[in-house]
């Protein structure tokens, strides 16, 4: 069952996103327009997740209005991506703030309806989105490396969602991770598929939205600040702006720093709840530490 679900809810949505972005990237800008990265790349922060959500929930998942906070996730991600595309010309800080507040405004996870909490969460995501889109342009922008960073960050987030007890959310995040990995490979041959400031902002907002939902439905009891730290992991992309001496060192830093931040969040969450202790226990065929067989 898991293999089938991974194919339908993770691999296929990511592959469909890649195909669509390849088609859209074929469109060249008018002569004289200094546009080197496809404007549609921010769609990679929403499309795989929407397709994955649709695969898992079917038409009933789009009933209006959604009865669970998870049901709003697809809309929040679409709003984040569209905001990033439409607001591409505006300054990065405004774009990041708009993306974050628009997308976070539609999601109200259970137990987190307090406006102060929601505004604080949106502000945190906005800061992370701005850091992830810094610098807005120039040679410091990493191409393949940034996609690879997103691949790892989303992968860690997917594991955290799974360990929190929410498999469907985990598959949605995993589809974003898979799409980032496909784009990392494709962008090596097609530079127009590289990340841009706008796509990084959209992806950071998508991660923020999904972490907020993960926090709301967390059945394991991961501390809220571990979810916040995970949502802030994209801010590590800002290290790409520093002078690392060589492109290789910069690329390594761009991949490693966000991934490490995400990994630290996961390890702290597991350590805090005592789940790490269980990894030392002798395994048995009946054990299912990752909840992969956890269906009735």
């Amino acid at each position: 069952m898991e293999a089938d679900l991974v194919l339908r809810a993770v691999v296929l949505p990511a592959a469909a996103t890649l195909v669509l972005l390849l088609l859209l990237a074929r469109h060249r800008p008018a002569v004289g327009v200094a546009e080197t990265v496809s404007r549609w790349i921010p769609l990679s922060a929403a499309l795989p997740a929407v397709l994955s959500y649709a695969q898992q929930e079917g038409a009933a998942g789009f009933a209006w209005p959604p009865s669970v906070a998870f049901g709003w996730s697809w809309l929040a991600l679409v709003l984040a991506a569209l905001s990033a595309i439409v607001l591409r010309p505006v300054p990065a800080v405004l774009r990041a703030a708009a993306c974050a507040f628009v997308s976070m405004s539609v999601v109200v996870p259970p137990g987190h309806s307090d406006p102060v909490v929601r505004v604080a969460a949106a502000a945190l995501v906005a800061a992370s989105a701005f850091a992830a889109s810094f610098p807005p342009s120039g040679p410091a922008r990493g191409g393949v490396a940034e996609h690879a960073a997103w691949w790892l960050v989303f992968a860690v987030a997917s594991v955290m969602a799974l360990l929190s007890g929410f498999a469907k959310l985990s598959f949605v995040i995993a589809s974003l991770s898979a799409a980032a990995s496909f784009l990392a490979l494709a962008s090596a041959w097609m530079p127009r598929l590289r990340t841009g400031a706008a796509s990084n902002a959209a992806s950071a907002c998508a991660l923020g939205v999904l972490c907020f939902i993960g926090l709301g439905y967390d059945e394991t009891g991961f501390p809220w600040w571990t979810w916040a730290l995970l949502a802030c992991a994209p801010s590590g992309l800002a290290v790409g702006a520093w002078n690392w001496g060589s492109p290789r060192a910069r690329a390594l830093a761009v991949i490693a720093v966000p991934a490490l931040l995400a990994l630290v969040a996961l390890v702290l969450a597991l350590g805090w709840t005592g789940a790490l202790d269980r990894f030392g226990e002798p395994s048995s065929p009946e054990r299912d530490l990752y909840g992969l067989r956890a269906e009735p």
Partner: protein
């Protein structure tokens, strides 16, 4: 001397207490042995509060095309009204706390509480409210009602058995057992349905015991 007397008194008190404590279960045992086989005659209808300690809801679902998986809800509350032997006036209003789902496996319980299944944080309760009843046998009934789960309300028909009624010194108690089958996908619980990894049809068995509403 005084200390000795006090010690003897303490021993005597302890012995008496122990004797009473031993006697209580024996009284219970006698009561069980002398329990009436049939329900005592009760005039008129009776409205009961569900006793959450002695009431449970179990569910059964086909797993991986092989075995039948059983789980239960431990927190069952509500009220029921009935008049022995009559379907008229029979009324059930039962609430189940979705947070109380218990599969015997902690990881599995977390998953069952998540939006993949019961979405316990969004929908902390599921309810059954009867709309009518029909007598089908000496102690059996067909109970019609509305089941609300995950915000979706669907009519269900349960086969209901009157299990008995007795007073064993703790006030009159009455018990029922209801069984019905639902399609969980109709209530938005579709995880694993598509490939049949987890069956769509779920058999629900609810055992209720209650005493007169005060």
């Amino acid at each position: 001397m005084n200390t000795c007397c006090l010690g003897l008194r303490c021993v005597a008190v302890l012995a008496a207490t122990a004797g009473v404590a031993t006697a209580i279960p024996m009284i219970g045992a006698n009561a069980v042995a002398q329990a009436p086989a049939a329900a005592p005659a009760v005039a008129g209808s009776m409205t009961c509060n569900v006793d959450p300690v002695h009431s449970k809801a179990l569910f059964r679902v086909h797993h991986l095309g092989a075995g039948q998986f059983w789980g239960r809800f431990n927190d069952v509350t509500g009220t029921f009204s009935f008049e022995p032997g009559k379907a008229e006036g029979m009324n059930f209003d039962v609430t189940i706390a979705t947070e109380s789902v218990d599969s015997g496996n902690e990881d599995l319980d977390k998953h069952l509480r998540s939006p993949d299944f019961f979405a316990a944080k969004d929908f902390p309760k599921m309810t059954f409210r009867s709309t009518g009843a029909k007598k089908t046998g000496e102690r059996t009934y067909e109970l019609m009602g509305d089941l609300t789960m995950r915000g979706v309300t669907k009519p269900v028909t349960a086969s209901l058995e009157f299990c008995g009624m007795a007073d064993m010194g703790r006030g009159p108690k009455a018990g029922f057992e209801a069984q019905f089958t639902i399609k969980r996908s109709e209530f938005g619980v579709n995880y694993g349905v598509e490939k049949g990894a987890i069956g769509d049809e779920v058999r629900v068995i609810v055992g209720l015991e209650g005493g007169p509403k005060k």
